[in-house]
């Protein structure tokens, strides 16, 4: 690592500490490479020549900070991303979920909500949504607003529909949304079974007992310590024999909670709490 990068990293560390103290948003345990990238990204978007300038802007102006939050977390999300994951949920997990009189799902780090709405559609098609509750949580209020609205640009719908079918969708995705102008709005009936809430895997605790946690492509941005913390929350939150779904590049191996889970559909990173 060259000197310049080392210095940059040091400044980033200080900035994250300052952000934590000023706003209680805790990015200090995010993976270094990703944070480095995010900061550069933020500097470009906020027109800052160097990190010192970014620091001044973020700390002195709370509104600008809220705006900048979107640059700190990854916003990429799609509906039915990795269709085989959803197929596996439908085939392997849903039949067991069906045996619970009521059930809860937690989409942790839901970003702009595509995954949460995907699960709502899936559960509705399985006739389970009526007795389900989906918690969709994120640290970014702006993302949560988008998620809660359930309105996505029309041009994304073609891709979403393809994934929906690949994921074993029984009908047409368009049955679940209404297109108006250049947006597509998901059925408000689905919304009734969803809770969107501000929750940080870095600083907050377990809020409810759930039967399935879906937390995909979130842990990769965390360092090992924070990964362990998040997995600890999932473990505590899940009912005995409850399910945990991770992203395709994420694994439970090596972590502190590896022993608490067993693979259920290994290829799709679906795990099950042992007891």
């Amino acid at each position: 690592m060259d000197d310049e990068t080392a210095l940059f990293d040091l400044e980033v560390q200080l900035l994250l500490e300052a952000i934590y103290r000023r706003y209680q948003h805790d990015f200090r345990d995010y993976a270094v490479t990703s944070v480095r990238r995010r900061m550069r990204h933020a500097m470009v978007h906020l027109g800052c020549a160097h990190l010192g300038e970014l620091q001044h802007v973020l700390l002195s102006d709370a509104a600008r900070f809220r705006q900048a939050l979107q640059f700190f977390t990854v916003q990429v999300s799609e509906m039915f991303r990795d269709p085989p994951y959803f197929c596996a949920l439908r085939e392997q997990v849903v039949p067991v979920l069906r045996t619970y009189p009521s059930l809860k799902v937690w989409v942790a780090g839901c970003s702009t909500g595509e995954e949460a709405w995907s699960l709502a559609v899936l559960l509705a098609e399985e006739d389970l949504l009526e007795r389900s509750l989906i918690y969709a949580t994120d640290i970014n209020p702006a993302s949560l607003e988008v998620a809660e609205a359930g309105i996505y640009p029309r041009e994304r719908m073609a891709g979403f529909s393809r994934s929906y079918h690949d994921a074993g969708g029984r009908r047409s995705l368009s049955d679940w949304y209404t297109a108006a102008y250049d947006g597509a709005r998901f059925d408000p009936a689905l919304r009734r079974q969803m809770v969107f809430a501000d929750h940080s895997l870095a600083t907050d605790s377990v809020f409810s007992e759930v039967h399935l946690v879906s937390c995909r492509n979130v842990l990769i941005y965390f360092n090992r310590g924070l990964q362990d913390r998040a997995l600890g929350l999932f473990r505590e939150s899940l009912v005995p024999r409850g399910y945990l779904g991770l992203g395709s590049r994420e694994t439970l191996q090596f972590g502190r909670h590896a022993e608490a889970f067993e693979p259920e559909v290994a290829a799709e990173r679906i795990y099950r709490r042992r007891t």
Partner: protein, 732 residues
């Protein structure tokens, strides 16, 4: 005229006399009271002294044992000396206690048939070794005319004679010690203890009977002892309706004569009944096993120096209730937390008295368990969670909290609720303890046998490997299939098809788990569960509801009261049923405290502040609903549930709610929005609202308060903290 003056003078004199008499009477009463206070103070004080002393004894013993071989010979000798000194001190304190007890009139005398020959034989056995060692002749003589049987307090009489003989042996270097028993006038009996020892000068004859004085200031240095033995003996003799007299000359030996009625007058036995208050203030010997109790008085071991204290002083209380620092002394006990040898076989002894804790630890080792000692309630909970012992012996009087609260918390925590807890306490709280889920209750003073049995009970719990499962299903074919599915070497299955048969089976056997259908020919599953809950004699195992149809939220809520696990039949339900049954039969969830006990408890332990209050719990999480309901209802509060903010507002409209516990994360309307709506209404402005949230940062708290919460508690909820918060905010 003169006569009248004389009469008046006489009257005046008489008045003065009467007044003087009154004053004298008052004085003497005050004196008597002061003396009694002194004795009571001494009695209590001795207890306070004994506790720290017990730890000093144990620690010096451990040092002297030098197990780790870290001390040199010299240092071991120091440790031994500290130990011996502490032992002497303990003897002294025991004597002070004994004396003050007698002086305060708090000695229980029991008249019983007392044949003299066995009494003499016992005394001979006690003193023969030491006399032989000193080369003394020891003689016992029952003169003709002496009664063969007395009716008196055997223990106290033996205590007096032992003391007289001990003194005689102590102060005699050569020659003989004799005990003669003969009859005396007026149906009395006379015990003469004579020796050929140093003798006592006439002017000191009275002094030897006075507490804290010995015939010669140097005597104590030469012979040791507390100098209290004779004071105690004389006081005891007087209580028994007799006295002790002394004939002695220096150099010519001494003769102490105890004379007392052959039959203890009933008035004496009655008048000296120990008052109840005293019995409470001083707990009895905790554990009187020969050689097992570390705090046994010196005579229990062959000591080179026979103390003046009677050997039977071990019948005096030897363990005082520990003061607050008791657990620190206990913390120093060398238990097995760092060197487990018996695997799962670990007993946690919760006891703040170090001596008794050590005695328990010894017994635990004897039964092939590892033992860990906790001296406070807080330590107990922490160690139970951390070490997961296979059994717990639990005292009630702990320095920081009641043992019953420890029991309650252990039974509330899924991680510890399966651990069998046996109470060992001087306080009789057996009813409450058993209700809270203790497997047994042993009253102190605990005999060795009693403790062995308590450990045995834990042992049997441990060994019971066969688990019993009750299946309630009216479809015979399905019942058979379930039997096949759940059948396992370690599981004994009983299958029934009706509510009536289920009740009969439950009354007959205790089951570890029960699987029930909801639709039965003679009633619903709800009926069954409610009947089980209502019947005290029926055990209430963990229940798995296995139902053919989906349930409404209300039905589910209703069932949740009795069942933690509800399974809706479907393709994957057998697998889940197997999972859940396995979980209940073999995991830590196996011994859920029966719901019945919780319900019983509801009638008691009410909290004066919360009793009769209506709490509205706006919360969606089943676990929290279950936990908070089971905490608040026993305290007398009525908990109503709303599943979201909207339902909470609807419930508030109907009135009659004293306080709201508001979860922040709820469907339809979240807690923050609901709180804002509450504060918009003037009539609800004063309504206490406590926010429950998973968010832990200072600004999260601000957000709750801004939205209108009076206070805030973070999840996971610490129920004790929440109860305190509720007490604070409950409107007066």
């Amino acid at each position: 005229m003169q006569l009248e003056e004389q009469t008046q003078a006489l009257e005046r004199q008489k008045a003065v006399l009467v007044q003087a008499q009154d004053e004298l009477q008052a004085h003497s009463e005050r004196l008597e009271a002061a003396s009694r206070y002194k004795s009571e103070f001494l009695a209590n004080m001795s207890h306070e002294l004994r506790t720290p002393l017990n730890s000093a004894l144990i620690l010096s013993r451990l040092l002297a044992d030098n197990r780790e071989q870290t001390l040199n010979t010299e240092q071991v000798r120091y440790a031994q000396a500290i130990h011996d000194a502490n032992n002497d001190l303990l003897t002294l304190i025991n004597d002070i206690l004994d004396l003050s007890k007698i002086e305060a009139g708090r000695v229980e005398l029991a008249a019983e048939e007392l044949p003299l020959e066995p009494l003499l034989a016992r005394l001979r056995t006690t003193f023969e070794p030491l006399s032989r060692q000193k080369g003394l002749q020891l003689g016992f003589e029952l003169r003709p005319g002496a009664p063969s049987v007395l009716r008196s307090d055997a223990q106290r009489l033996q205590q007096i004679l032992t003391n007289l003989l001990a003194n005689a042996v102590k102060f005699t270097d050569s020659g003989e010690v004799m005990l003669r028993v003969q009859g005396a006038a007026g149906d009395r009996v006379r015990f003469e203890v004579s020796d050929t020892g140093v003798g006592i000068a006439a002017h000191q004859h009275e002094a030897v009977f006075e507490a804290f004085r010995q015939a010669d200031g140097s005597t104590s240095r030469r012979y040791g002892g507390t100098g209290l033995g004779l004071s105690i003996s004389r006081e005891l003799a007087r209580r028994l309706g007799g006295d002790i007299t002394l004939v002695s000359e220096p150099g010519r030996g001494s003769c102490f004569t105890l004379e007392l009625p052959a039959v203890l007058p009933e008035a004496l036995a009655e008048s000296v009944d120990a008052p109840q208050t005293f019995a409470c203030a001083i707990p009895p010997v905790p554990f009187a096993a020969p050689g097992a109790a570390l705090n046994a008085s010196p005579p229990a071991r062959p000591a080179p120096r026979l103390p003046a204290a009677p050997p039977l002083s071990s019948s005096a209380p030897t363990a005082a209730p520990s003061p607050v620092n008791g657990h620190r002394a206990v913390a120093l006990i060398d238990d097995d937390r760092e060197r487990r040898r018996h695997g799962e076989r670990l007993i946690l002894a919760v006891e703040d008295d170090p001596a008794f804790a050590q005695a328990l630890l010894d017994l635990i080792h004897e039964r092939d368990f590892d033992g860990v000692v906790a001296g406070s309630a807080a330590d107990a909970i922490e160690l139970a969670r951390e070490l997961r012992p296979c059994g717990i012996l639990l005292d009630i009087a702990l320095p920081d909290a009641s043992g019953l609260s420890v029991l309650e918390r252990l039974k509330r925590d899924p991680a510890t609720r399966h651990i069998p807890v046996h109470m060992v306490s001087a306080l009789d709280r057996s009813h409450t303890a058993l209700e809270l889920g203790a497997i047994g209750h042993l009253l102190k003073p605990a005999t060795r046998d009693g403790l062995v049995e308590a450990l045995g009970q834990i042992e049997r719990r441990l060994r019971r490997s066969v688990r019993r499962l009750l299946i309630v299903e009216d479809d015979a074919a399905l019942r058979e299939n379930l039997r096949l599915l759940l059948g396992d070497a370690g599981v004994e299955i009983t299958g029934v098809g009706t509510v009536a048969d289920a009740m009969a089976a439950l009354a007959e056997l205790s089951f570890d788990c029960m699987v029930t259908d909801l639709a039965l020919p003679d009633g619903s599953g709800y009926d069954l569960l409610e009947r089980m809950a209502a019947m005290e004699s029926v055990s209430f195992p963990p229940v798995i509801v296995y139902t053919g149809r989906a349930l409404t939220r209300d039905e589910e809520q209703r069932l949740r009261r009795y069942s933690k696990s509800i399974i809706v039949k479907g393709a994957r339900s057998p697998e889940r049923l197997l999972d859940e049954v396995t979980l209940f039969l073999h995991s830590v969830e196996a011994a859920l405290p029966p719901e019945r006990q919780r319900m019983l408890r509801q009638a008691r332990q009410r909290d004066s502040v919360l009793d009769g209050r209506r709490l509205l719990l706006a919360e969606d999480d089943v676990r929290n609903i279950f936990a908070l309901t089971s905490v608040f209802e026993p305290l007398g509060a009525r908990v109503e549930i709303a599943r979201n903010g909207r339902e909470a507002l609807e419930r508030l409209e109907r009135g009659d709610i004293d306080m709201v516990l508001m979860d922040v994360m709820m469907p339809e309307m979240d807690g923050l929005a609901a709180m804002r709506r509450i504060r918009e209404r003037p009539e609800w402005r004063e309504l206490p609202v406590i926010a429950l949230t998973a968010k832990a940062m200072p600004d999260d708290r601000e957000r709750c308060l801004e939205a209108g919460a009076n206070d805030y508690i973070a999840k996971p909820i610490d129920v004790d903290k929440l109860v305190s918060l509720c007490r604070v905010w409950t409107p007066k």
